[in-house]
Every structure is written in C-alpha cells, then in structure tokens.
Point group: none
Chain length 224, copies 4
DNA sequence: AATGAATGAGAATTCATTCAT
DNA sequence: GATGAATGAATTCTCATTCAT
C-alpha cells in the first residue's frame, strides 16, 4: 500500500463494493434525484467525502452501479439467449425460448435489478446519460441478442416471419411488464404476478398460439 | 355585487387547467423531483405564487396532473376492453384481440398518457398514494377487464387454458413494453418500435403461435 | 366616485370597526409579524383587498388598532389617576391609590388590551414605530399621570420622598407584571395570579409597608 | 485515524456557541419572525447552510438561544433568592430584600438576559413550548423561591400577612417592569429608568411603606 | 486514503400589496 | 366602494461538492 507501483491502476477496480452496493439500495429506494449521498455514505459505512475519492459525481456513481451490478446480471441472462453457434443450447427455438424466459424470470426476481430498472424509467428524461447507459449496456444488447436468435430461428423455418425485433418484444414484454408491475405496485397489490408462472405460461402461449384450433364443438376435453 | 358573475368563474376554472398542462409538460420532461415550479409557472404564463392559489403543494400539483390525464384515458381504453355483453365487439376472440391491441396502440401513441405512466412508475416508491391511484383506477380495471374477456373466450373454448390474468399480461405486455421503451429511450434510440406495428404483429404471433408447424408439411397437430 | 366632494373626508372616520376589531384579535394572537392580512380580512368578513381601501399598510392598520381601541382604554384608566384639581377623587393618596389600582386591574382584565401589550413588547425592536406609538399614546401618558399625582402627594407630605417616576413603577409594576404573567403563561400555569387580588394586596403592602413594626416579641396581633 | 482527535471536537463545540451568540443578537434585535437566518449566519461568520449542521430549524436555534442564556442567568439569580438556611443572607428580611433586588438589578442589567425575556414574552403565543420552558425553568422557580423566603419572614413575624406569592409580585414586579421598559423603549425614551435606582428606592418604599405617618407637623423623623 | 465540517447555489413556499373587473 | 385573483420579492431549508486536517 505504501510502495509506488502500478497498484494505482487497480484503484478503479478496487472501488469499494460497499459503496456501490449501498448506492444501488438507495437509488432503488428513492430514485436518482431523490437519493442522498449522505444516505449512501451512511449505508456504506464511510464518510460522505470518501465517496468522492472514487466517484467524481453522483451520476458517475450511478454509472458504476449499472456497470458493476446490473451488467453482470444482464450477461447472465444473455448467456442463455446468446446461444453459441454450437453447444447444447443451440437446440430448437421451441425449447430454447422457455429456458430463456425461465432464466430471465429468475434474474428479474432479484428486486435490485428490477428496482434500478424502475429508477431508470423514472429519471431517463432528466438524465439522458442514464438512459444511454441503460440502453447501451442492458436493454440494447438484450434485445439484439434475442432478436438475433429469433432471426436465426426464422432462417431455420422455425419461427413465423415478421420483424425479429418485434418478435423479441412479444417474447420478453410480458415478463418485463410483470416485473415492473411487481415493483410499482409492491405495496398496493397483495397478489402480484409470479414471474416464473408468467414466464412459463407465456412461453407456451406465444409459441403454440393462444387460440385453440376451432375444435368442432366436441365435448370439453380435460385441458392438457 | 350579489349576482354570481360567471365571468370570474370561467377564468378561475380555466387557469388550473393551463397550469396542469404546463405541469404535465415539465414533469414529463424532468420527472417529479427535478421539475421546477418556476418552469411550470413560466410555461403556464403565470407567476410562481399563482400556482399556490390552486395547488397547496408541488405534490398536489403532480397528483392533479395524474388524475387529470388519467380520467379520460382510462375511459377511452376501458371502452375498448370492457367489451359489452352484446354488440359488435362480441365476436370471436381472434378478431376482438387485434382490435383491442390496435386501439390501445392508438391510445398509447398520445405521448401524454405514456409520459404520465412513466412518471408514475418512476415515482411510485416516493409517492405510494400515487401508485395506489394508478393501480385502482387504471391498471387494475384494465387488467381485470381484459382478463374477464379472456376468461369468457376460454369458456367458449376459443382460448387455451391457463390463468386469464397471465394471459392478459401475454396480450398487452409487449405493447406496454414498447410504449415505455419509446418514452425512456426517446433521445437515445433513433429507431424506436412502432406501436401499431407491434400491436399487429404481436396479436398475430400470440394468437396463432410463433412457432411454425414443424413443416414436414404435415397437417396441424393438436398442440403439444 | 367621480364627483369631488368633502364626503371623502369622512372616510377616515368611517373606517370599518370590524376590520380593526379583527386586526386586534389577530395581532394579539400571532404578533405583528406573524399576523396575516388574509386572516384579518377573513375574520372581518371582507376581502383582503378591501383592507387597503382604509389602511395603506399593515403597520397603519396596527396604528389604527392602538388609536381606536387601546387609547380609549388608557383614557379610562387615566381618568382615575388624572384626578382633577377638585372633585371627590382628590382625597388622600392613601385612598386614591387603591382605587387607581383596582380600576387598572379591571381594565387589564380585558385580555385584548393585555394581548396588544404583549405583542408590542415582542415586536418593539422590529417596528420602532409601534414602540413609539405605544410609548407616546399609552405608557408615557399613564406613567406621567401617575407620577404627577404622586408628586402632588409628596408635596402634601403624604408620600415619602424619592423619584416620583420610580414610585410610579413601584405602584403599578406588580399589577402590570401579573398581567403579563397571565398573558404569557396562559396555557402553562393553571393558577395564574388574580389581578384584583394583586391590586388590593399590593396597594396595602406598598402604602403601609411590608415590614411589620418590630413588635417587642409580644403576642401576635391581628394584622393591621 | 482511530485516535479521537480532540482538535475537531473543540471546534465542533465552539461553532454552535458562536452561532447562538449571533442568533441572540439578531433575535433580540428583530424578534423571532423577522430575524433572518442569513443575518445570523453572516454575523456568526459562517455560511447559511452551516447553521443547519447544528440546529434543525429556526425554532430549534431560538430554543437553543433561550436555554443557553437562561441556564446561567437562572443559576445566578436563584443563588440570591434561594437563601440558604444558614449563612449571612439569613439575616432579617428587611436587610435581605434590598440585597436581593440589588442583585437582580445587576443581573437584569445585562441586556442579553433582558432581551431573551422580551423575546419569550413576544413569542409565547407562537411557541407555547417556549413559554413552558421559561415558566418551568425560570419564572416558576424564581417566584417560588422568593415566595418561600417571604413566607419564612411572615412566620417570623417580620412581614405582613397576605399571599406570599402576591408579595413576591409586589417585591420584584417594579424591577421587572423597569427592565422591560428599557428593552421595549430603548430607541424611544431617551431617559429610561435606572435599574439599580428602581431596585433601591422600591425596596425602601415597599418595606417601610410609601405613606408617611400623618405627621402632626413634627420634626423630620429619620425615615425608616 | 479518509474524514466530516463547511459551503452556497438552488428550490419550495409565503404573503403583503396591486389591479382589473 | 368592493372584490379576490395575481404577483414576485423574500425566506427557510436541502444537499452535492469541496477541502483543511
């Protein structure tokens, strides 16, 4: 710690995880504008001034939160969609998609990720940079990866034609919607949607179609 | 002196509306916390203090904005979902659903409604009351209406079994997602999704299924 | 409104008593600085702007309160001290003084007068004009009148030598103190001093002396 | 880093005192409502915001001023009234009382104490808590102590019967009245009463009686 | 590296005063 | 004469950022 060296280089890496963790909590709870550095410092167990040793600005701190905590979570989900050219996940889309949604449901169950998402939505207009970070590092890659996988499936004749990007919205929209719903109405709706359930049911509905074949009005079949 | 001059009344009732308009603009642009009453007043063409003749507090003004914009929007959308027992909309679900989504896409294209939605999402944690209003007056009724229509379709054997509420998420989630996307990434993504397109394509995908029949050009198999 | 005339002259006299009454109440309750013209207007049953038809300024309104309400009360008390050269009140000081104090106790029992006094004390430094009005129209005349009467009594050999002005403080100080005490500790002390009792007992104590003649340790005599 | 450097502590404890000093000045000069935090800060040589490091609110600062100035003043005066059972002050009441008044006159000559008193009187209605503090910690104990001493003198046959509490008003009222007079009419009356003079003359007048024995034109008796 | 006291620009809110009706 | 909506200067309080220690 005392000898000179390239150790300094590491400082950026060494950014106290506690600060970022604390910042995530506070941002998630109050939103960006209403988050107080005082709170963050207290929760991180450091002095307010210490935050400035590592982050030039409140916004920089937010950026770090996204980069250090959100990005990894995104990568994890992407790993399920970004199906490598070869490998076991490269099965039929009808099998990959449900797995993807299930994985996403799991990732989104961490309230922290969802809370940041809610925050970004609220502050996007005020801090365009936040929106850009979120778009470039989270939403964009995710959408593109999913759309790419869908395009591949279309090329393979597995998936119906149409804008792959729009198909991606079709695939992930309901799950994200449910996530937001849980976030926003946490204290209001005592019976919020279950993410895993939404993921599973929606995967089936979307893939197979919501409409049942117009069964010649036969007797009711026990639903399968 | 005694006659109730409606001269005043009219202005007295017009002013707040102009203030709410201005407030909507500013809130939508900056979010609640970052919105400055100075801006709102200037945009409304009144003095800062005049706002306080009609709204006790910044929060009260925010609430007024939400309620003022909500009311008509809800009526409009509910009219489309609250499919009357009889009437033309009471056709087969496969025809009703696309119309519903198309109508919603239209309603959501008004940036004002979408902007308020984004605001509420962003400030839900800070103003729980607001979340409750939004839930009880907007999202709840809407979801319930859609779910009820779906349940009816299920009873008629038109729609695959499963939680009607979750089916509702499947149906409207992508459209709402796209709406939010447009709001949040307005300045970031030069090529945002087109709501009408999403509505149309998603309706077809969801209803008919994203997966093409495993085309050894066989005949349609009863799903799964 | 259009014809010139002497009618205007009357306006000052016609100053609505309700406004002054209301102002007294509000000033007494909140002090000068914290008194709101809105309150005064509401209590007077007029519009806020109407106050300005009669009083140029908040301070002018206060001045009117003093002149219209306080001054008469003072005159009443003065009438008891300003003993005319002849007349029944011109008896021995030992008889006049108790009557004077008793009359003052009665006058001060009106909380309104006392409340304004409290207010002036609080705001004197902020609004020197108020202090001047109060001094010139209330306290000064009162003190001078009492001191003059005392001086006369001294000349007659009735009263012990010493500064008549200081004697005046000796005479009225306890009663005023008790009045203030009641005002300030209205909500705090459940058993405030009774003004009439203070007046009576103090008159006797001061006039006859608090100290009993060092009775050669004889048996207790029924006092006085 | 771990040693508790008292370096900071000292400054941290000194600052609030300076602020309270400054606040006393400004409050005394303008009263509570009209005092500007800006002024106080400037006079204390700190930034406006710094006040809020130590006092949550303008009212809290006011309270601190009162308590800070009260505490020593009360101790000092109580020491004079709380005549110990034994000791030199336990002489005849006729000797103790003048000493008591003289001491009080000295204490009240400090404008700071008097200024705070004036403030409390002025703001009592606005801040009932303040009135309570003042009553419970200052006026109550003082009055009780004086009344108790008087009661003792009555028991010893030194003092005329009557409510000891009212006698206390008789004793200290003129001095307090004079103190207030000086405060309130500081800028108005060029010749305010001298506290020591009032104390001395009133002590004699009250103890011996204001009325001279109906001198059958005898030779001047040494008064007493 | 760390601290936390200090700063001061900035925002919400109040209210005496004005003025069109 | 009366009204009360409108004004905007003034004030309290907040909080990101700085800096001496």
């Amino acid at each position: 710690m005392n000898e000179a060296g390239p150790r300094w280089r590491r400082r950026k890496e060494a950014r106290p995880a506690e600060m970022i963790e604390a910042a995530l909590d506070v941002f998630a709870e109050h939103g960006f504008a209403a988050a107080k550095l005082d709170d963050i410092a207290r929760r991180a167990g450091v002095a307010k001034g210490s935050l400035y040793l590592y982050f030039d600005t409140k916004e920089a701190l937010f950026r770090a939160v996204v980069e250090q905590i959100i990005a990894p979570a995104v990568s994890r989900v992407l790993a399920m969609a970004q199906i490598p050219e070869e490998g076991p996940q490269n099965g039929p889309f009808a099998e990959v998609a449900p797995r993807l949604l299930a994985g996403a449901a799991l990732a989104l169950s961490q309230d922290r990720v969802a809370a940041v998402a809610r925050m970004v939505i609220g502050e996007a207009r005020t801090f365009p940079d936040l929106a850009r970070v979120w778009h470039d590092q989270v939403v964009g890659p995710l959408l593109s990866a999913v759309a790419a996988r869908i395009a591949r499936a279309q090329a393979a004749g597995e998936v119906r034609p149409g804008s792959p990007r729009t198909h991606a919205f079709s695939l992930v929209g309901p799950l994200l919607m449910a996530t937001l719903y849980r976030q926003v109405f946490a204290g209001v709706d005592a019976d919020p949607p279950d993410l895993a359930q939404v993921a599973a049911q929606h995967a089936q509905s979307l893939l197979q179609g919501l409409i049942l074949p117009a069964t010649p009005p036969a007797k009711e079949l026990p639903d399968d």
